[in-house]
Symmetry: C2
Amino acid sequence: MKLVIIGSVAAGTSVAAKARRNNEEAEITIYDRDYDISYSGCGIPYYVGGEVESRDDLTPRDAAFFKKRYNIDVLTRHHVTSVDPEAKTLTVENLETNETFTDTYDVLVLATGATSVVPPIPGVQADNVFPIRNIQNAEATRTFVDTTNPKHATIIGAGFIGLEMAEQLKLRGIDVTIIERVQQVMPPLDKDMACRVEDHLEKNGIELMLGETVTELTGDGHVERIVTESGKTIDTDMVILSVGVRPNVELAMSMGVKIGETGAIAVNERMETNLPGVYAAGDVAESFSIVTGKPIWRPLGSTANKMGRTAGDVITGGDLEHRGILGTGIFKVFGLAVAQTGLSEKEARELGYEVEVLHNTKPDKPEYMGGKEMTIKAVADRATRRLLGVQIVGFEGIDKRIDVFVTAITFKAKVDDLFHLDLAYAPPFSTTKDPVMYTGMALANSMNQSARLITPAELQKRIDAGEDMQIIDTRAAKQYEVTCVDCAVNVPLGKLREAAQDLDKQKPTVVYCNKGVTGNAAQNVLRNLGFTDVYNLSGGNKNYQLFKKYGN
Amino acid sequence: MKLVIIGSVAAGTSVAAKARRNNEEAEITIYDRDYDISYSGCGIPYYVGGEVESRDDLTPRDAAFFKKRYNIDVLTRHHVTSVDPEAKTLTVENLETNETFTDTYDVLVLATGATSVVPPIPGVQADNVFPIRNIQNAEATRTFVDTTNPKHATIIGAGFIGLEMAEQLKLRGIDVTIIERVQQVMPPLDKDMACRVEDHLEKNGIELMLGETVTELTGDGHVERIVTESGKTIDTDMVILSVGVRPNVELAMSMGVKIGETGAIAVNERMETNLPGVYAAGDVAESFSIVTGKPIWRPLGSTANKMGRTAGDVITGGDLEHRGILGTGIFKVFGLAVAQTGLSEKEARELGYEVEVLHNTKPDKPEYMGGKEMTIKAVADRATRRLLGVQIVGFEGIDKRIDVFVTAITFKAKVDDLFHLDLAYAPPFSTTKDPVMYTGMALANSMNQSARLITPAELQKRIDAGEDMQIIDTRAAKQYEVTCVDCAVNVPLGKLREAAQDLDKQKPTVVYCNKGVTGNAAQNVLRNLGFTDVYNLSGGNKNYQLFKKYGN
């Protein structure tokens, strides 16, 4: 069997390695138009910032390694210009010599990856504008920073690469402005979680311009100023483009390979395209959601590896199947970790789920051991009680909780299952009840009608509609006087049993505290006293004030 | 309803709080013979060491808090001396006034916890011998250290509390000797994982005396020397007793409550004992294994909380049920985290499982981001392909991986499921394929016969039996010359394809490298060249050398 793979980063090399592990006889060739193979694209911001010292760290393997270990031929700087899927031939251009030759295949894998989108803005080709995608980009950006000592950088696009770059440049002493077209950073997050990241970026001296579109980069081949649609201007010394990536599907389209609704190559669970003998894997191919079963495209090294290994196995007679993804993502910016998996509230509502939503603020370990607060937003389906998705923002142990949620959601966990998990407890690592368990308990209680939750957005909607409600702030008077929910009355928890006599048991009642715990206690008191329609404000006054500041 | 709870640490207070949340009307009383309530027993070593500054940190809640928040009466220093389950009455002694009175109950919860075992060694009652269980013990130990500046401490018992105490005392400048009756620290671990902890303790200056039994503590009311069964003596300034705990079942037994095979109170999934209206929860009650369904007793705050909340819910008409535990545990000693869940290899074999065993050494994140190695030992059932248990030793991200395994095992994960998990990947947090995924891949490959594993113990057994095998060290000659498996020949991977011509394809063949990765590549080469019976040595030469040093 002659296996030809186009592309040699995460997916392409995974295909090749797995195929070789299964089959010693196959002839395996990888073509890549780039210089480097098997590199860590996700490590690039840390290379530009200097946290990763050597580019060799990002490119641990080269063609010689693959030849020696796997007997696989990797030809870099070789551009596959066309494929004839009938004849099973391909035309390859050696970019070093400009020679062109023809090769043949029995099985072809398209692992051509994705490319940074370069938006069609005047000036975008200037010498101090840097997309962030491959090792060459990384090298050029770092060299520019090292040699010209820029004072100010502008980052266009507030996805995770943009935010990581903002951090790394700021840590090098450069002032940073981020411009993002939508009204929040990290558009896949719900706004009520993204705003926590925005707060943190601003506290760390990053200037945010949200809801702004860049219309022009001015300067003579070297950007000096940025102009936005609303007429703002920013003087800058360099520009990072991180407006997103798109799959490299040109070759696939020219061959007649079917493109899916996400814009990436449509594949089945065996990574087969519509053409016999042609597979696709990695950033160029679409996956599907474990929650909804629908196609999703999330270009990420971990997914590319999964797809590549699956393709390599199938091609060599194995029975591995791709089981889809949750669209899990995580990144860190100025010490704050931000993680997401499954559906956001926005997505879940758009898909028609009737959702239960919790904002749960808890320390990662006991405060006496230095625990720091995290906020978990969890979204569950009322009909099935299944957890649909989770977002977490916090400082320590965020990756742990998201991975536990990932595992639970993968196994179709109901909210009721989380409390029972026998998670590892010791003071240096967690609280006796882990934040994951509290999340499940609060969601289950809300669904059971024993401790119903209301989000700030839902509450505000009802307030704005003029609904007759009792809103009770259960904190100390001093706290109530600083900030509170509009039209709330202050009844500290200790006085609630007594004060309840003067309240209307039939009227919709919302209680709250700072984060939700005392609010829950108050809710139980009222409910047990015969109040029929009592809500606890999800995430408490802290969450409500963020909502008021940033909208939802 | 009148609810009386005996015991006010993790379980007792959980029962009370949950019952109150569900029912505002119940009269709830807690009796406890101790001074403190709701304290963090697991935090005690850190208090003695000074990492936790104030004892208030360990006792965040007092009786006044429970009265104010929950309208629950907590009576400390009140010892319940007897219960009449027919009459539903109890006799209580106020330990401060020595007055005795009678109380009644509708529902009784036994949450009397566990006590440190004080072994019947001559001298054990001396003034510088400290058990570690409650806040009084903690206070006494810390005061002794603060005021007498001991130079040497002896810790009897090498469970996690003993090891944590060893660390905390050493960090205060005290020389520490640990004496343990069995031939390893942390007896629930398999020896091949415990020996990694032993190595680390010794590197950090702790003296270990394993397989030694203390027979006498000599000195006149103040221990000065310890004598062991083998005749060794140790001069010491203080002794910590951490030989284990036992459930406080005296009261239960006197009432006719049934004790289970573990020695703790037998309860059903609703936390009911054999007596009507009498429940038990927390360290005094036994749980059951999620894996085997059999009773197990693991006194731990996280389990106590689960049981307490369940009892509180059931008592007030709820339908919560205890779902058992995995016996998950974690602790940290000199920066090394040690975690365990489910069955050990030893337990699984004793239970009759035909097991697949992997030792997987991987960094927690990319080495270019400062990743540090961990070793995961995973045990799976060949018949069902289900994961049975995991042990992990390493520096960073251990709690994360164990909690992912906990969640997976709870949902009855097969080894094949782990590779597909969409775990959160970014360089500051993990590798593109997380160590959890590698664990699943290697176990699945071994069960599929495509990359069979052999443990050092299994290999040694076959070597010792004189079996005719080919053992191939695939590392560089320089490494082979330092240490290698007995009777192995050296064929570096790069030369293996050629050298394979001179090997016998029918003969059992074992390959290995340092940790297992290159060994796996070599194994694939040979298997694909037609070798029929090839094993990769689990954990490589590193794991084998530990086995040779410490036995198994």
